[in-house]
Symmetry: C2
Subunit: 118 residues, 2 copies
DNA sequence: TATCTATATTGACAAACATCGATTCAAGGT
DNA sequence: ACCTTGAATCGATGTTTGTCAATATAGATA
């Protein structure tokens, strides 16, 4: 009977190791998950990297030109997802559509850093 | 012939609107996409939020306790993905396995912010 | 050894996603 | 009107992903 203490004699209790309130809850979890889903694709990151470097508008034709290994419909599809997620905006002028990085991208990512860091 | 200039008379040329070098390329794109895939799930974000708030170890049993709407194998699966992505570390002590948030999470996210911001 | 508990693994399945070819839509030029 | 070009949409397809029930593994206790 209890000749020696096991490595972890005590069952871990919530009071011993668990936070009362997690740092990501409810709506925030959904919003960040949605944001990161938008960022969780190589093609979309390439597009964002292009727009960030341009510091302004880039027309869809140039985006397609840079991402040469994918078809036009595929890139259009990714642009749509980025628009819906609010990470870019697209404006049609004449024949062309010009895309711009939305500032909300950086602010939302920074919000995540703050939420985790507390 | 050319009675008046159309809204966008000139075809957008790379030199007019395109950056010479995008801000996310090659390996960096892959690494960030992999990171964001790890973050692109509500359950995994909840787990990370728990670990962040705990500021230390949390045993798997408490994680499962907090995320009550999912089965134990499902949570174990997410913990595995987080481990493989280097976002958490797990250490077995006796019967229990204790998880900790890896510091690399914040640094990697901040790297992304810097890359986009230039 | 046998047994109990905590965690991980396996196998199956449905839903979500990335991709493409074909088509459509929008706008300008002839 | 017609044609041309840039971009979006549609429909189909193969892959990835989240989930669970069942089972296996690791470690402690008896």
């Amino acid at each position: 009977m209890t000749s020696r203490l096991p490595i972890a004699a005590e069952t871990p209790t919530p009071s011993s190791c668990c936070p009362t309130r997690p740092r990501l809850r409810g709506k925030a979890v959904k919003q960040f998950a949605s944001l990161f889903k938008g960022l969780a694709d190589e093609t979309r990151l390439e597009i964002l990297g292009l727009l960030a470097a341009a510091q302004g508008e880039v027309c869809a034709c140039h985006i397609e030109e840079h991402i040469k290994h994918l078809s036009q419909p595929t890139i259009s599809h990714h642009l749509k997802l980025l628009r819906e997620e609010g990470l870019v905006t697209g404006e049609r002028r004449g024949t062309w559509v010009y895309y711009t990085l939305d500032k909300s991208l950086l602010s939302r990512v920074k919000q995540f850093v703050e939420a985790i860091r507390e």
